[in-house]
């Protein structure tokens, strides 16, 4: 497919994002030991929307996840998130979560879901990634009883009081989530008040984002196309977008941590010289930088457009590889700081916590690998 976007367009847009991130966002998050107050976060999101980075409902939305049929579209969105995350991963994730309902409403041809209450999209099933049932479903294989039970329980675990955990922008009022109706994945929008919301205390990372545990039920009007094949594609695309977002945010986070570690190594004197000359420190810096370079390449491959559902195996494989690398890089970058890296005001421990949080959301590396194995077998 021919691209409407030029590479120069990417440069221009990402330059604007960079200016916004460093000029506006950075000023609000210069003290990593203090969580960003809700009013400041709302203001930042409003400014990002105004600047065109987050799409709004309307005929000509612009910003994240809008031009995914364009060969350069997924790259533009992923690199936008990466750039924002290089200043603050939580704000980048918030922007992604604000954009997802706009993409999904358009894809489901259901603009009404954007009206009224602030809505978050969640793809987080109850536990795991649907084991082998998910790749079988997405590959169009015939599903057995166990597969159906697994998909149903993964997405709608109403039968044993389990709760799904949703990490979403503070203050969201409704949730748009998938469920399996025995034939295809459909969607339903529900006010969170109907889902017995339980606020969760602090989580490992992404301090700027709320975590809420929700009960499950399928009350509400099913959304999505009647055609099961089209429903399958939409769900796969949603998972693809989420994977891109998780890796892009993680990469931005590590890029920042790696740069901080390099600066620290230049200025910190030990043994009579700056520590960047010590091989033990060079190994740590090299590890962090290597992770940046490798994940950058992985993200480049993952984001090759246009977005197509049948690439999910490759994208999951890349994500399975990316997150352990990102976490290794973040922990090595922190180690360069020694004891001060463990303290909240330096910001390195936040980078590590955010990296670990991103590794565990939306399917862990082990779950992604098992998906890939089954996907390769059945597709």
């Amino acid at each position: 497919m021919e691209s409407l976007l030029e590479k120069e367009d990417l440069t221009i847009v990402l330059g604007e994002v960079r200016r916004f991130a460093r000029g506006v966002v950075a000023a609000n998050v210069e003290r990593p030991e203090h969580a960003l107050p809700r009013p400041s976060l709302d203001l930042l999101v409003a400014e990002a929307t105004e600047a065109g980075f987050i799409p709004e409902a309307g005929e000509e939305p612009t910003g994240l996840w809008v031009d995914l049929d364009d060969p350069l579209g997924p790259t533009l969105s992923a690199r936008t998130l990466e750039t924002l995350a290089s200043v603050n991963p939580g704000i980048a994730w918030t922007c992604h979560m604000r954009a997802m309902p706009v993409w999904l409403a358009q894809r489901l041809d259901a603009p009404e879901v954007l009206e009224g209450q602030e809505t978050a999209v969640t793809l987080q099933g109850y536990y795991g990634l649907g084991r082998a049932a998910l790749p079988r479903y997405l590959a169009g294989s015939e599903l057995g009883h166990d597969d159906r039970a697994m998909l149903n329980d993964w997405l709608l675990p109403a039968q044993h009081d389990a709760r799904r955990v949703v990490h979403a922008p503070a203050g969201f009022e409704a949730v748009l989530s998938p469920y399996f109706d025995g034939e295809a994945v459909r969607w339903v929008r529900q006010p969170i008040d109907a889902l017995d919301p339980l606020p969760i205390g602090p989580t490992l990372g992404l301090d700027e984002v709320d975590a809420i545990a929700l009960a499950s039920n399928d009350a509400g009007t099913p959304l999505g196309p009647d055609d099961p094949e089209e429903a399958r594609k939409i769900f796969a695309e949603a998972l693809l977008i989420q994977s891109l977002a998780l890796v892009a945010v993680g990469l931005g986070c590590l890029r920042h941590a790696s740069e901080l570690a390099r600066e620290q190594a230049k200025t910190r004197i030990q043994g009579g010289r700056s520590i960047e000359h010590h091989p033990a420190v060079q190994s740590l810096l090299g590890s962090a930088r290597t992770a940046v370079v490798v994940v950058d390449a992985l993200l480049g491959g993952m984001a090759e457009g246009p977005l197509r559902a049948n690439r999910i195996g490759d994208v999951f494989a890349a994500r399975a590889e990316a997150h352990p690398l990102l976490c290794r890089g973040a922990t090595d970058a922190l180690q360069v700081f020694g004891g001060s890296g463990y303290m909240q005001d330096v910001g390195m421990e936040k980078a590590l916590r955010d990296s670990q949080q991103l590794r565990l959301m939306g399917g862990t590396p082990g779950e992604l690998e098992r998906f890939v194995a089954e996907w390769e077998r059945v597709r």
């Binding site: 033990a280 303290m343 005001d345 565990l360 082990g366």
Partner: protein, 455 residues
């Protein structure tokens, strides 16, 4: 036919091919050799300890379950206390720990609270058991109770019985009476980091905390950072260089918190181990009388290194305890969490992850105990090997636990995310794990040089 319950993929224990009944028909003389008793790994490991240490290990576990478990998550989630404002629950814990002998177990009864039987074995072994069992339940509270011992060890290693009599025994009596007297150990300086833990770096460093000779004693000037328990300690073993000299002049001074000019500047905001503060402390011309010099002037570097060589076994023990705690949290999660009508532990991939965690934890425990059981002399290479390897592998085990629990692991209530934040510190303090690797080579230097010459 299977009669008893069984996990998916396994025969029930009463199946003829199950390992449980498999050996029943073998000759009576062979059966006991091939049929182990059904006990937990913890019981199996404890049974390998000398009886006195087995008893000590059971005491540590029972104390941790009784006194540390209930407050572990709430203390971690509470705001960082300001210097000198210890939360009531931790103040109560210190009192209880004092009364029950948990602050005095470096010395045998009647001077301290360690059993005479356990004193037949290297002290570092018992201390490693202690940090494992307490760290398994809550590493932050473990550190609150254990960094104290680190402050006492320099006095013991100075070999100065007078100092033990003047400073340690009264403090121990106070603690046993329910008035906890906490010690702290202060080596790290704002501009120093690893230089305080490694000789080569230290040799080129200009010390930041300096002692100036004055009538009847010394005047201390400078700052120390990241001092565990420095905010609540009544006595601190402080290492300072003598005026106009390098770190080779390091001298150990016993500073008490009521000395004029001593200040707790602030408590750091830490990633984890939050029950124990890391304090920045300052000395503004603090007068330290001559009888508060621990050992002799200029013996501080030797005392410091000896202290670290002993205490790194205890840090390795923290790693083992954190790995054990994470493994248990993951197993508990896998047994109580249902997916598609089955407990997660029925899924083979979950079983594989649990097996890896149990095995990794057993491996580092084995390494530590093997080294500690012979550590009548605390060797630098052995203690550093244990420190960096046990803590690196422990963090890996905690990551496995998080992986098994998936996004549930990120929740504070899961316990695992706290364990991850706690565990990360063990790779940093008492010498980063990079410094500890170098310490292994330093201790092997003569052998390596000989091989160079031989070639």
């Amino acid at each position: 036919m299977n009669q008893q319950p069984h996990l998916n993929g396994y025969l029930s224990p009463d199946h003829p091919l199950s390992p449980r009944g498999l050996f029943a028909d073998l000759p009576a003389g062979i059966r006991p050799v091939v049929t182990p008793k059904l006990t937990t790994i913890w019981e199996q490991d404890t049974a390998t300890l000398p009886p006195a240490l087995a008893k000590t290990r059971r005491w540590y576990r029972s104390f941790a379950e009784r006194e540390l478990r209930h407050g572990a998550l709430s203390i971690d989630a509470a705001p960082h206390p300001e210097p000198g404002k210890i939360p009531p629950s931790l103040a109560a814990l210190l009192k209880t720990a004092g009364r029950e002998g948990m602050l005095t177990d470096l010395l045998p009864r009647p001077l301290g609270s360690a059993s005479l039987g356990s004193y037949r074995y290297p002290l570092v072994w018992a201390q490693a058991l202690r940090t494992e069992e307490l760290g398994r339940v809550c590493a932050g509270q473990m550190l609150l109770l254990s960094a104290h011992s680190l402050g006492v060890i320099p006095i013991a290693f100075a070999g100065d019985l007078g100092a033990m009599r003047r400073f340690v025994l009264p403090a121990y009596r106070q603690s046993l009476a329910g008035d906890p007297h906490i010690f702290a150990f202060a080596i790290t300086e704002p501009s120093a980091g690893s230089d305080a833990e490694e000789g080569h770096g230290a040799s080129g460093r200009r010390p930041g905390t300096v002692a100036k000779r004055v009538d009847g004693g010394w005047s201390l000037q400078g700052r120390k950072v990241f001092i565990s328990g420095g905010d609540i300690a009544k006595s601190i073993t402080v290492f300072a260089a003598l005026e106009n000299e390098g770190i080779e002049s390091w001298t150990c001074f016993l500073v008490t918190s009521d000395m004029p000019g001593f200040e707790v500047v602030r408590n750091e905001l830490k990633m984890g181990m939050r029950a124990s503060a890391a304090a920045e402390i300052a000395f503004h011309d603090v007068f330290v009388p001559d009888d508060h010099v621990i050992g002799k002037p200029r013996q501080g570097w030797a005392i410091n290194r000896a202290t670290l060589n002993a205490s790194r076994y205890a840090v390795a023990g923290m790693g083992v305890g954190l790995a054990q705690g994470a493994t248990e949290a993951a197993i508990d999660f896998a047994c109580r969490t249902q997916l598609a009508g089955k407990a997660l532990v029925n899924f083979q991939e979950v079983q594989l992850q649990i097996a890896n965690m149990i095995t990794e934890t057993s491996a580092i425990r084995g390494m530590l105990w093997q080294a500690a059981r012979k550590a009548y002399v605390a060797r630098q290479d052995r203690s550093s090997m244990c420190k960096f390897h046990c803590t690196d592998r422990a963090v890996r085990v905690v990551e496995m636990a998080l992986e098994l629990m998936g996004n549930h692991g990120t929740l504070h209530d899961s316990g695992a995310e706290k364990i991850y934040r706690d565990a990360r510190l063990t790779q940093i303090f008492e010498g980063t794990n990079q410094i500890n690797r170098l310490a292994v080579i330093e201790d092997q230097q003569e052998q390596l040089l000989a091989r160079i010459e031989h070639n």
